[in-house]
Symmetry: C2
Subunit: 201 residues, 2 copies
Amino acid sequence: MTSVRPGRRGRRPGSPDTRAAILAAARERFAEVGYAGTTIRAVAAAAGVDGALVHHYYGSKDDLFLAALELPVDPREVLAEAVVSGDRDDAGERLVRTFLAVWDDPDNQPALIALVRRVLEPGGEPLLRDGFLPVVLVPIGERLGIDRPELRMPLLASQVLGLITLRYLVVVEPLASMDADALVAAYAPVVQRYLTGPLPG
Amino acid sequence: MTSVRPGRRGRRPGSPDTRAAILAAARERFAEVGYAGTTIRAVAAAAGVDGALVHHYYGSKDDLFLAALELPVDPREVLAEAVVSGDRDDAGERLVRTFLAVWDDPDNQPALIALVRRVLEPGGEPLLRDGFLPVVLVPIGERLGIDRPELRMPLLASQVLGLITLRYLVVVEPLASMDADALVAAYAPVVQRYLTGPLPG
DNA sequence: GTCTATAAATCGATAGAC
DNA sequence: GTCTATCGATTTATAGAC
């Protein structure tokens, strides 16, 4: 897991990369029990170090959380590229498939789950309301050239968030165990409807 | 709010119904900041009493939470009656409309929001996974006579939970401000699809 | 770079006076 | 029935030894 570089001169920066071990442990704790439920002590214990070291490297609990939330992917890039390029009548399928591909990648999951848990925790509302929705999702709708994106994208978000919540956080069967193809078959038509189908009013 | 009965003999039970004031304050705190975020002291302060009184009336924090979760309605009765009686092709619309009617009632909202917040808090998963879904939702699907209810109802739940989350917890516009009719128009076709439409596999 | 020791705040819960 | 006082357990965070 830790790449040792024997030819290195001078003092080693940290031992076998304690810093990264702390961050990984923090991500898993945040994903497992949320921000409020995570204690610095538990993170330190999971990383096999003392609690003071966590503060030493990452400052306050808030700072550690921000560091743990650093996503391996830029959702704007990945989603926009996959969804906007191609036929608009298949955008729903591409969006669901891309979402699942990112979420099913074990490298991404802890940070993503921690992020969604934070959104659903009291006080985390702005992350979705003022962040992901207007900054990532609505612009995608605009670039797709659909009408009323500020209504269509929240409708879409309500379905995608519900799926994410049940599959990855609450772990409801059979949703949690279905493969990506089956989920795409189930959800793509609904997402497509929100993108280009009829609207109320 | 408090019915005074002047002819009553003997010592009055509590003052102007402190017990109910504590419960109402607890409901609002649990709905506002969740179970973990709620402190006995904050409940007591909101009710204008001392913290020890809360323990005196309701025992532990868990007991208080259970008392605060007591729903004014039995979801099984309300949902089953509204959804099962009538044409199966309109069941989606009746389900969405009934859900919204219950949720938009100010008397129900604090307890319902507190309940969903608990579901979305780490450790609350069994409430939905082993409670609401198999006890309330799947039986409704069975009584409707649809095929594969154990797949259809989780699909349906993912959409309804997403709507509930965005409208009442995260408060995302325009979902939060739309009236029930507009929401029914937007979501009933999707819910109906999950009930009686095509499935993957 | 890593740890011990501890400060300072807050929590749930209890005992007991009035 | 209501409150004061307080215990004991946890928490984040810091200071400083090694």
